[in-house]
């Protein structure tokens, strides 16, 4: 199934690229992130995931959120400074 991703936190996702990808049916947010790392040949350090925030189709999501055909996933990060 096709799913789209946009990274708003390019600093912590290395060479992972925005785009539309063909991923297995029944994939979760975590599955999609694993897939993207595999595609890029890069493993994101575990601590970088601490500050990541996921939104799928405009709604907040977790790593175990199921994706459906045409899903649009945004990967943001916590912006907490003041």
């Amino acid at each position: 199934m096709l799913a789209k991703v946009k990274f708003h936190c390019k600093e912590i996702v290395g060479s992972l690229q925005n785009g539309e990808y063909d991923i297995p049916e029944g994939s979760t947010v975590k599955d999609f992130m694993d897939f993207l790392q595999q595609q890029a040949g890069e493993i994101i350090p575990a601590e970088n995931f601490d500050s990541m925030v996921y939104m799928v189709n405009g709604k907040p999501a977790q790593e175990d959120t199921l994706l459906t055909e045409g899903a649009f996933m945004r990967v943001l990060y916590k912006i907490l400074g003041g």
Partner: protein
Amino acid sequence: MGRYERNHPAISENEQEKLQKSRVFVAGCGGLGGYILEFLVRIGVGHITACDGDTFAPSNLNRQLLSAVPLLGVSKAKTAAMRAADVNPEVEVSARECFITEENAAELISGHDLVIDALDNGNARHILAKEAKKQGIPMVSGGISGWAGRVFVLMPEDEIPDYLWLGPAGTMRGNLGFTAACCASVQAAEAVKVLIGRGEILHGRMLEFDLKTSEFEDIPLDLTK
């Protein structure tokens, strides 16, 4: 008209009066708060509470407008009130020298028309947003990290987007002066729009910017249950 002459006609005389009668609570007088207070004082928001339990430290000097070498160790909230008196004595700025806690949030924000989040941690934002919602007060939220910033407005009927604030914060990316100024500018503009009831506010969406790539994006933000 004098000092507010250049506010017009961008802001009408009627709207200027609305601002003069408004009561705004600014939580945090640091990187964001310093600039926000400067803008609100200069534009003529009549009553402002500047709240911060902190004093100035050397690490503030790279970005905090209110900070200066002779003010190291001095209260940020008190400095904000003193600065306001110098810039615009027609505006009343009260200093509250404390941090936002579960115990004091209710009393601190009571009686205000608007709350502005210029805080530096997710827990305090959560407490502030919860209390603002309880008291029916809109909140303009802002945050910065390195070159990036984010602003949105919460109305009392909204679900609080805690997922943007709570949990591990991740690696520190630093806080740059121009990032703070940019974010604070947007927050001040949002505050004025909410107070005068005009303009399209960042409600149901958030403005996220990255000054490193010069990208500004309007991202839908679902605040429904």
